[in-house]
């Protein structure tokens, strides 16, 4: 991991009170996840114990302690999406990508996660692929979305 890059991020937060979560967010933005070394340095920087930083990093859903895929597929499991069949959407996504929810494909191309609610209830069920909201999803649309994209980004498979 690039310590220089990390220290640059940390320098911005110098003297700020209670910045742990913002720092974790920034570091994750930079590295895609929270490498152990980074957590350790953050603890040192904030004069926290590493276990306390670990506690916070594992409490929140948004933090990843392992490397994620290049593309993030989030399937909303909010109420509105649920009653309109979000579970089938998620299962289909799992099948398409060949991984379980919360996992990353071995080639680090895709990560799949469930989210509680994206607030796009009027468009339910929704799937978010790399910040792009796909609304009124059906099993078929998911299949198309994920397989097509797979083909596009990786012609070998």
């Amino acid at each position: 991991m690039d310590i220089e890059r990390l220290n640059k991020i940390l320098a911005v937060f110098e003297g700020e009170q209670g910045g742990l979560i913002s720092i974790l967010q920034r570091v994750q933005e930079e590295f895609g996840y929270l490498p152990e070394v980074a957590l350790y340095s953050i603890a040192n920087f904030l004069k926290l114990s590493p276990s306390q930083v670990f506690s916070v990093a594992t409490f929140y859903d948004h933090f990843y302690l392992t490397r994620r895929g290049d593309h993030l597929v989030s399937v909303c499991q909010g109420t509105a999406c649920h009653v309109l069949g979000a579970r089938d959407i998620l299962e289909t996504a799992e099948k398409c990508l060949g991984i379980k929810t919360g996992q990353t494909t071995p080639d680090y191309k895709y990560s799949l996660k469930r989210v509680a609610c994206l607030g796009s209830c009027a468009l339910a069920p929704v799937v978010i692929l790399d910040d792009q909201v796909h609304s009124r999803m059906t099993v078929r649309k998911v299949k198309k979305l994920l397989t097509e994209d797979l083909d596009r980004t990786d012609p070998q498979t």
């Binding site: 957590l39 114990s49 670990f54 594992t58 302690l65």
Partner: protein
């Protein structure tokens, strides 16, 4: 009359009234997470945890009514459903607070049997040489975490993850040995269940109050003795120095007393490794042993009797006086021994060449 600022729990305990509690530990702040000490307080909407509720003038507390009873039972059943309660194999059995609570509160057989037994099957952390951590027996009372923070000030562990994945964890789930844990064992002392347990545990048959022999802090402690062996040490709660706390050395560092490497008989260097000790200490008329002078690093040590040793030392010391001789005392010995040794040096050896390793 209870003290001002006391909690309902401590006031009740002082008055001899039982309120069950699992996550309460008098040495650390109250968290009120186990919810077993819930009591009903007149005029309040919801049951309140006794361990966090400060008593007030004229407060009416019901420690036990059918509703509270049922609440406690359900909560206890929930804890049990998540606990590896193979008590027969648990070293804590008999001193386990969970067992005690089950005995006092009881549980509803029918309901309990409907709950899914969800105790995890996580690996037991045996990396620490003095104690083991079994997360499957952990009841998430957080006493160890509070202890590590408030008493030890180390913060080697904290509560990580959330929901029913909540668990006591070191940084990155590493084994305790690879964490910043200093093995002081304060958490182990306070764990109410069998999650943090000493590796080898023998019940002492008697205890002796004494002072820790390690650093200059001089913590008060009780040595637990079984036969002629030290089997445990615990901090003396009444000591004004450590108030019951101990560090890793003070709590676990007593095997050296029983070490097989301890010297047992006086040793003396002799030319001939087959030399008979008795021949070594024959004195000539001047009082010097016949074997003297010894040539350094060629002789071997042989064991001699105390009698021989004392006579030998006394006679050989008698040859040096004043500036020729020096004595080094020990910062590890008692005051009495240091007093005696300096007196010995000054009186018997007739010199002020006495010092010890006082580096401060």
């Amino acid at each position: 009359m209870a003290d001002e600022g006391a909690t309902v729990l401590t006031a009740a305990q002082d008055a001899g009234i039982y309120i069950p509690a699992l996550c309460h530990c008098p040495d650390v702040s109250s968290q009120g997470v186990c919810r077993l000490c819930l009591v009903r307080i007149e005029g309040r909407r919801r049951p309140e945890p006794a361990c966090r509720t400060i008593i007030e003038e004229g407060m009416v507390v019901f420690t036990d009514d059918p509703e509270i009873e049922r609440l406690r039972r359900v909560i206890l059943e929930l804890i049990l459903s998540d606990h590896d309660f193979n008590c027969l194999l648990c070293p804590k059995s008999g001193q386990c607070r969970l067992q005690e609570l089950v005995n006092r509160i009881g549980f509803d057989e029918h309901r309990f049997s409907r709950l899914e037994h969800t105790a995890k099957d996580l690996p037991i952390d045996t990396s620490n040489p003095f104690f083991d951590f079994n997360p499957n027996k952990c009841v998430q009372c957080t006493i160890c975490v509070r202890t590590c923070h408030e008493i030890a000030g180390i913060d080697a562990i904290d509560m990580a993850y959330r929901s029913d994945n909540l668990r006591v964890s070191t940084f990155a789930n590493k084994p305790l040995k690879d964490s910043v844990c200093v093995s002081c064992g304060e958490c182990m002392e306070r764990c109410p269940v069998g999650a943090l347990i000493p590796k080898k545990f023998k019940h002492p048959t008697r205890e002796v109050k004494t002072t820790c022999p390690y650093c200059g802090v001089g913590c008060g402690l009780y040595l637990g003795i079984r036969g002629n062996t030290i089997v445990r040490a615990r901090g003396d709660d009444e000591s004004p120095v450590n108030h019951g706390g101990l560090c890793v050395r003070g709590r676990f560092g007593y095997d050296f007393v029983n070490s097989p490497d301890r010297l047992s008989l006086p040793l003396m260097r002799a030319y001939d490794e087959y030399a008979q000790p008795s021949s070594v200490v024959e004195m000539n008329e001047e009082g010097r042993p016949i074997t003297l002078p010894l040539v350094k690093r060629e002789g071997k040590f042989v064991e001699i009797t105390w009698d021989q040793a004392i006579r030998y030392v006394a006679s050989s010391l008698a040859h040096y006086k004043g500036d020729e001789i020096a004595a080094i005392s020990s910062a590890r010995c008692t005051n009495e021994e240091n007093y005696l040794f300096q007196k010995f040096t000054r009186v018997a050896l007739e010199t002020n060449n006495i010092d010890h390793c006082a580096r401060l």
